[in-house]
């Protein structure tokens, strides 16, 4: 029984079957990649996991509890954090403040009316946020306006914010999309570091095979809304159906 | 039954005005992404084009012979119209009588020009500014326009009658087999309705069937992509702003015989037309028209005695009640698209 269990999930948009009969099990503390050509339903699946979309059929459970019908912030509070394709951070806030928000969310829950407490005197939160920034080698940027950082730094900050919540499952939606090779490698190293430094489950949707084969322990291939095959990276590499349906297309 | 038909007629008429103003407003929202609080002022300017036109036509000089005494006892001279000097007594009088329709010809270029100047001179610089700034600057502009009109024309309403031929009213009831006097409707309001229908159809046809319109519609959907295609979308948007101004202006010209215009009539319509646009769905042209007529008709029904007896004050709040109901059940208005003006 994996930490994330997706059973018979289906989702239609009008007449289009975006997902049909998807089954997926992500083992705890593993890195699981979901790959597939454009329009295979990867993003739809991800949105079903985090509460943005509600599947028409099937069930999604996290650590034995159903996530269906819960709002994104509730699912997040269960221990699932999401990294977006384009970094979603608080551009108007400083880097330190960006880090403090997940720390607050972790400690105080979805809502807390601390309107009279001086934010900067909250040592616990400031320390934790600064610690996290140090860990991510971003402490020198803590006073910066988040919107003014480079894309690579924004991505790093977003991942750091997700980690600050100490999630049990980290969902990454094409984390290296649009990145230069050097940045991509940095991100891979970062994810490896994360993986090695703490117990965490990572599910990653990715287009870039280099990233997938560097990180993943298991891979699910999605095509036309259904899982084609699920196996270890080595087996996937050699799998004829995958080559035909997917890799063949992308590597010519 | 008669009362029902009657209120539908009244509603169509009110709806025409709402729809015409909202159409321009939503066009500007949709194309330029600008919240234009000066749109009501454009409507008012249109009305004052008609007022000015009728005053120009009535320019006169004093007759050479006195014809009585005035209130202070001084000799009084009759006024003689210049148009009558130029076109002869009869044609001159007809021109004066037809001042409002004649004004349409003048209003189109004038309002287009005002629109161009406004967009190039002011609005252009606010595309990328927050909506709050757009509201502040266009509201400031609306006040300035109003005050300038007030300075020259005063605060009092100015009667601007329809041509003689369109005064009086038409008995629909007889046409439909009811008793006389059950469903009567003024001719000019009928004219207004058909005029509005033509303008709305023209705007839609323009957007639907011309390449210019296609580009603009594409721009409304996705401005960046159209920009990437190397099409100069800005120039087209300027023209669209001019057209929106002209539509509001024409709505104003034709409205003058219905109710005498005054300098703050734009503000009276401004809030309502925003409600209409939002109920219709931000940036949706058919939505604006639909919501305009819908709210016009509902407002008319809420004004009937049985409605106000059932719920006192319903006639004053119906539009807002409907707006709330629509927005709570349909998050983006009746025909709105996702993502427009939600941030």
């Amino acid at each position: 029984m994996g930490i994330l269990e997706v059973k018979n999930v289906g989702k239609r948009f009008g007449g289009l079957h975006a997902l049909s009969d998807v089954n997926l099990s992500v083992a705890e503390n593993s890195v699981h990649a979901i790959i597939g050509p454009n329009g295979a339903g990867k993003s739809t699946l991800l949105n079903c996991l985090v509460g943005k979309l509600i599947p028409d059929t099937g069930s999604v459970s996290f650590d034995g509890q159903s996530v269906l019908g819960r709002k994104p912030h509730e699912i997040n509070q269960m221990g699932i954090s999401r990294v977006f394709q384009t970094p979603e951070i608080f551009g108007d806030l400083t880097v330190l403040e960006n880090m403090m928000i997940p720390c607050l969310a972790r400690r105080d829950g979805a809502f807390a009316l601390h309107g009279y407490r001086a934010m900067m005197r909250d040592r616990e939160i400031v320390d934790r946020a600064e610690h996290m920034l140090e860990d991510m080698h971003m402490i020198d940027k803590r006073g910066m306006h988040a919107a003014s950082m480079s894309r690579g730094d924004k991505r790093r900050l977003e991942i750091a914010m997700c980690l600050a919540q100490q999630p049990r499952l980290l969902l990454l939606d094409e984390p290296t999309a649009g990145m230069a090779r050097a940045d991509t490698n940095n991100t891979i190293e970062l994810l490896k570091h994360i993986k090695d430094s703490r117990p965490i489950t990572i599910a990653i949707i990715e287009h870039d095979m280099h990233v997938v084969f560097s990180l993943a322990e298991r891979i699910t291939v999605l095509a036309q809304g259904t899982p084609l095959v699920e196996d270890t990276p080595d087996n996937i590499k050699g799998h004829p159906k995958v080559r035909e349906a997917y890799l063949g297309e992308t590597e010519h | 039954m008669e009362a029902f038909l009657l209120q539908i007629l009244n509603g169509l008429d009110k709806g025409s005005a709402y729809a015409l103003i909202a159409l321009g407003l939503t066009l500007i929202f949709g194309t330029l992404g600008v919240v234009n609080f000066a749109h009501g002022a454009l409507f008012m300017l249109g009305a004052f084009v008609a007022v000015t036109m009728s005053r120009l036509l009535q320019l006169s000089h004093k007759a050479s012979e006195p014809s009585g005494t005035d209130f202070l006892g001084n000799p009084r001279y009759e006024d003689v119209l210049y148009v009558q000097d130029i076109f002869g007594a009869e044609l001159g009088q007809t021109l004066v009588d037809w001042a409002v329709p004649v004004s349409i010809l003048v209003a189109i270029p004038v309002m287009l020009l005002i629109g161009f100047v406004m967009e190039r001179g002011l609005i252009k610089h606010f595309y990328k500014r927050p909506h709050a700034d757009q509201i502040l600057v266009t509201f400031g502009l609306a006040i300035v326009i109003q005050e300038v009109i007030k300075y020259f024309y005063g605060a009092n309403p100015i009667p601007t009658p329809a041509p003689d031929a369109f005064r009086g009213s038409f008995d629909f009831g007889v046409l439909l087999g009811f008793d006389p006097n059950t469903i009567i409707y003024p001719y000019w309001r009928l004219v207004y309705f058909f005029f509005a229908a033509i303008i709305i159809a023209a705007v839609f046809a323009f957007l639907q069937f011309t390449t210019f319109g296609m580009v603009v519609r594409a721009g409304m959907a996705d401005r960046e992509t159209v920009g990437l295609l190397g099409i100069d979308i800005d120039r087209r948007f300027t023209i669209m702003f001019g057209i929106a101004a002209a539509v509001a202006g024409l709505a104003g010209v034709m409205y003058t015989p219905i109710n005498p215009p005054n300098y703050h009539m734009g503000m009276d319509f401004l809030v309502l037309s925003f409600v209409v646009v939002v109920v219709g769905g931000m940036g949706s042209l058919p939505g604006a028209v639909l919501a305009g007529f819908l709210l016009g008709i509902l407002e008319s029904f809420a004004s009937t005695t049985w409605a106000t007896t059932a719920v006192p004050g319903i006639n004053q709040i119906i539009i807002y009640l409907v707006a709330i109901a629509v927005l709570l059940t349909r998050p983006r208005g009746l025909m709105g698209r996702r993502g427009v003006m939600e941030e």
């Binding site: - | 009657l6 009667p159 006097n181 009567i184 703050h264 407002e299």
Partner: protein, 457 residues
């Protein structure tokens, strides 16, 4: 710029007297000296400041502008400049053109915006900052009641401008407030005999009423007066103040069995509802075998101008009309004197709003002079039950019980072919004072108390 010549010269004179070109000795904060004489803003020095609070922005701005013209004219006459206007015809001969009690009259102006809050703010500033000892003006009842209450609390006199609601001298009456203008009850009482003679006693009336206090009192008054004639009130429909188009209220009228439409509207509401009624052909229509009629209980020149030719033949009442003396004789003496000096200065005849504001200013000045004091309580005493003549309305009484003026009421009708934009109405009848007088405890005026005069400070 000739119109303000006098002011400027006067100012230059006083400016020179104090030895500084830039000095304007208009503004004294009287509060500090108030204790000396025991009432708010007791004038010190050789000037006295009056506050004229009129709508300068918003829909009634033109009416406010006309009021302001009248105030300026009144100040001019009080200070002995110009031709003296109604000072010559006023029955009380105390005023001699030397200002008020020898003090030159200065004035400050404010903008009511026709909103209670703004009007009170403007009045406060005149009282607290400029040391005004009297506030006058205004063009709606809401504002009048609001400012009257303020003046009562602050201890200055309020001489209301145009306010027609029964409440101003009814349930909201105040000891420090005085109304020269007539009211809704008087309109109705004056109209009733005229309506009877014009349209008979067998009529069915349909009322459209502006949905706020003034509209209600107007409707209540006219309905009571016409029902006493034998008319039947078919329906009373309340219309929102903010309404700009009345088609959905007008359209059902013809089919309702009524043969008279009463428009209890004022200002923009009246202009639009009347225009709409004419559009819908009500003027030409027949109902119950009679010609359909429209009645507008309260008329004003500016409304008539706004409605244009639509007002032709439509009866209504006015506080005063500039043709009164010419057409109805010397009972209304003062009218021509006022029209003459107003017309000379501004080039057109004055409105009834201008007239009432001018009269109020003179009445105040006269009361102060007769009382020999600016103390509000002395002024109140001088004005209460004061009978006067020569201010254009014929013999008039300022009743002590409610501070309402009682005088003849003019019933007018829109002219069929007006000569110019200032001569839009013709006088049909002047209803004598007796016919419009009511008891102070009349139910329509009950509920309030005049209270004690308040000298403030």
């Amino acid at each position: 710029m000739t119109r303000s010549h006098f002011t400027r010269r006067g100012v230059m004179k006083t400016g020179a007297a104090t030895g500084a070109g830039l000095t304007l000795p208009t503004i004294f904060t009287g509060a500090s000296r108030a204790q000396e004489q025991g009432f708010t803003n007791a004038p010190t020095g050789d000037t006295v400041t009056l506050g004229f609070n009129v709508p300068q922005t918003g829909p009634y701005a033109d009416e406010g502008a006309d009021e302001l013209r009248a105030f300026e004219l009144a100040v001019e006459h009080l200070n002995g400049e110009g031709d003296g206007g109604m000072l010559q015809t006023f029955s009380s001969k105390e005023l001699d053109g030397s200002g008020i009690m020898g003090k030159r009259v200065e004035f400050v102006t404010g903008d009511t915006q026709t909103k209670s809050d703004a009007a009170r703010a403007a009045a406060q500033s005149m009282i607290q900052k400029d040391g005004a000892v009297m506030i006058s003006g205004g063009s709606s009842s809401g504002v009048a009641v609001a400012v009257q209450g303020l003046c009562q609390d602050a201890g200055v006199i309020f001489m209301s401008g145009l306010t027609h609601s029964n409440d101003t001298t009814g349930k909201d009456k105040k000891a420090n407030g005085f109304r020269h203008f007539f009211n809704a009850y008087m309109s109705a009482a004056a109209m009733a005999p005229v309506l009877e003679s014009l349209y008979g006693t067998d009529r069915k009336a349909y009322h459209l009423t502006a949905d706020y206090t003034w509209g209600w009192t107007q409707q209540e008054s006219i309905a009571a007066a016409t029902e006493a004639l034998g008319w039947e009130t078919v329906e009373n429909v309340l219309t929102p103040l903010a309404a700009t188009d009345f088609s959905s209220y007008i359209a059902p009228v013809l089919n309702s069995g009524a043969d008279v439409l009463v428009l209890n509207h004022y200002g923009g509401n009246m202009v639009n509802s009347l225009t709409n009624a004419v559009q819908f052909g009500l003027k030409q229509a027949q109902a119950n075998g009679k010609d359909f009629q429209i009645v507008v209980p309260l008329y004003s020149e500016l409304m008539a101008r706004g409605a244009g030719e639509n007002i032709a033949g439509i009866p209504g009442s006015q506080n005063w009309d500039w043709k009164l003396e010419n057409e109805r004789g010397s009972r209304y003496t003062g009218t021509n004197a006022f029209v003459q000096s107003f017309g000379q200065k501004y080039g057109f005849p004055p409105s009834q709003a201008a007239h009432t504001c001018y009269a109020q200013t003179l009445l105040y000045a006269d009361a102060v002079t007769r009382a020999g004091s600016f103390n509000p309580c002395a002024v109140v005493e001088a004005l209460e039950d004061f009978e006067f003549d020569g201010l254009g309305n014929g013999p008039t009484l300022y009743r002590a019980a409610d501070h309402q003026c009682f005088k003849d009421v003019v019933v007018v009708r829109g002219k069929e072919n007006p000569d110019n934009e200032f001569d839009l109405v013709e006088i049909v009848e002047v209803t004598p004072t007796e016919a419009v007088t009511y008891e102070p405890d009349h139910p329509m005026f009950a509920g309030g108390e005049l209270g004690e005069c308040n000298p403030g400070a």
